[in-house]
């Protein structure tokens, strides 16, 4: 059993998805999906423990050795991503029962969980696989399931949002496929680590460059890097609350992981950042993302849209760290990937609590609710402070690494911009908190009570994690640092 540890997180949700399809009862489907996600989370925990103990794990799928068969390889980086994705997936499942019952027609609930499990399996597959084509397939599995999940939103505009995401997502995936094709033309291999070794021996020619370009653009689309982020705000704003929380915390992160994997493991930092001016391009795009996302977020009157735009900005931070191409910068990227999943997860879940109680997530609707729903807004406040990046929350740790990374390179204007940008987050989070706590409630809201514990407990689990990982960073920053050193130390 333990020998198969690297593949189990992918297989388990796939099987469970098939079983779920056979279940006619909403509650049973939820139980199965919930049990599966928690089991996968436990597996991820076991995996990261093993990897930190013994180093990378290599698993040959079906017993076929590496360059011919599909290889799964787990190192510090993807073990951490795996932990984040499964963790969020499991916590969100706790929340899902009440929330989904409210938002999705009862007859469709089992199917909803099928899509959820498929999305999870796809994301975990991307994270674990060491094969470029396999990665594309999992990317599409997760994307297709996400389109379906988003389309379940209660508002009819969730359909158009899902359709737009489908079109953009498919273009991105096709670009990735094209890129993989170019690399295969040159090297005749699809294994990421084999690719890395063979590309090392190849003079950088136009075919490699083309493959590189296609991959980068395709993945940037999937991870919603400015200006390829247009699908994201609507998709997150109109999806069911559970889906917004899950996808915001995981989907773009996994795409980012894939980008990091290609850039650093396959192409190598040397090639990417010294022979091609990718660092400069990413730096510019990331800063544009940070500022445009934050500015637009300030003017949103709908909380979920606001958070969605904030996600665009936060992705900017992650890409920013990447563009430094230094150990500190890359650590910042990975740490922020981890921390942002916690903050955005908590924020979307808190907004979900709000939607559950008052059926609206607009700014006007929340006036004075802070005193009526203290736990909901408490969680929002904690996660919001983390988003701004103030101590003692997880967000501060990300910011610290990011600013250190910039100063290390002597890029102090960038450091100043990062700090300025976090003040923009202060504005949009502050607006919400001010309205919730210091505005007089309208009469209609007099009777509102706190959200049910079934929703609050998972929300606070994530909010509490924001505090915990602000103080104890052995798991987040510790592993991220190790991953960054491994990535820059060359392939393997």
């Amino acid at each position: 059993m333990t020998a198969h540890l690297p593949i189990l997180p992918v297989i388990l949700p796939l099987i469970a998805a098939a079983l779920c399809l056979l279940l006619p009862w909403a509650r049973a489907a939820w139980l199965l999906a919930g049990a599966t996600t928690w089991a996968v989370f436990a597996l991820a925990a076991a995996l990261i423990h093993r990897v930190l103990d013994q180093g990378s794990l290599v698993y040959a799928l079906g017993g076929w050795p590496a360059p011919w068969g599909i290889e799964y390889r787990v190192d510090a980086l993807n073990a951490l991503v795996l932990l984040v994705v499964t963790g969020i997936g499991a916590v969100v499942m706790l929340y899902a029962r009440r929330s989904v019952e409210r938002e999705v027609p009862r007859s469709r609930i089992p199917l909803f969980y099928v899509a959820y499990l498929l999305a999870l399996a796809g994301l975990l597959g991307i994270t674990l696989t060491g094969d470029a084509f396999n990665l594309f397939v999992f990317l599409e599995i997760s994307s297709l399931a996400s389109y379906i999940l988003i389309a379940q939103g209660p508002d009819r505009r969730s359909l158009t949002a899902a359709f737009r995401y489908l079109v953009m997502g498919t273009i991105g995936a096709t670009f990735i496929l094209m890129g993989v094709g170019f690399l295969y033309m040159v090297t005749g291999t699809l294994n990421l680590y084999d690719l890395a070794a063979r590309l090392d021996g190849v003079e950088a020619n136009r075919t490699v460059r083309a493959g590189f370009a296609f991959l980068t653009v395709g993945l940037s689309l999937k991870l919603a890097l400015f200006p390829l982020h247009l699908w994201l705000p609507n998709a997150y704003a109109f999806a069911p609350n559970v889906v917004s929380a899950f996808l915001a915390a995981t989907a773009t992160k996994v795409a980012l992981y894939a980008l990091v994997r290609f850039l650093f493991t396959v192409f190598g930092a040397q090639d990417v950042f010294q022979n091609v001016p990718l660092g400069t391009v990413f730096l510019a795009l990331a800063l544009a993302a940070v500022f445009s996302g934050s500015f637009v977020a300030i003017f949103q009157d709908e909380l979920k849209r606001m958070l969605a735009y904030s996600s665009v900005a936060q992705i900017g931070y992650m890409v920013l760290g990447l563009s430094f191409a230094s150990v500190t910068g890359l650590t910042a990227t990975v740490v922020h990937l981890f921390n942002h999943a916690l903050m955005k997860g908590a924020l979307f879940l808190a907004v979900g609590c709000l939607a559950y109680r008052i059926g609206a997530t607009r700014m006007e609707a929340i006036a004075g609710l802070g005193h009526r729903m203290p736990w909901t807004f408490g969680a929002f406040a904690v996660a919001g402070v983390s988003l701004i990046g103030l101590p003692p929350t997880a967000g501060f740790i990300s910011k610290w690494y990011l600013v250190s990374g910039a100063l290390e390179l002597g890029w102090w204007p960038v450091a100043v911009l990062i700090l300025l940008a976090s003040l923009l987050a202060l504005v949009y989070i502050g607006r919400v908190l001010e309205a919730a706590y210091f505005r007089k409630p309208s009469v209609a809201e007099e009777l509102q009570a706190e959200a049910p514990v079934a929703l609050l407990a998972p929300t606070w689990l994530l909010a509490g994690a924001n505090l915990y990982f602000g103080l104890d960073t052995r798991l987040s920053a510790g592993v991220a640092g190790e991953a960054a050193r491994a990535l820059l130390g060359g392939p393997g």
């Binding site: 359909l159 359709f163 079109v167 295969y184």
Partner: protein, 117 residues
Amino acid sequence: MAWLGLYNYWLVIFLMMAGFYVVIAHGNMVKKLIGLNVFQTSVFIFYITIAKADGGAPPILTEGLTRYANPLPHVLILTAIVVGIATTAVGLALVVRIWERFGTVEDEQIPDSDDPE
């Protein structure tokens, strides 16, 4: 005329751009999906044509066969085709639902923001 020898790439580029153009230029969602299909097909053709070896035989194990086409891209593209079909199916399902809820599949006729009735 070396570039004529690379006619398969020209074909791929033409299909890709044509598909991309349809996706961007048309407001009709069904047409967008068709464009998306053409776009994807270009990559399928790309994969299949790069598998061809000059003077290569079909990759079936026979005595004395030394030069044969690479079978792997075909296999890959089979998978990609399945993915493409699934995408189209989901896309069409969404279009049907959009038709039911909005009464149109034209992008411009769908209001950017409406308050749910």
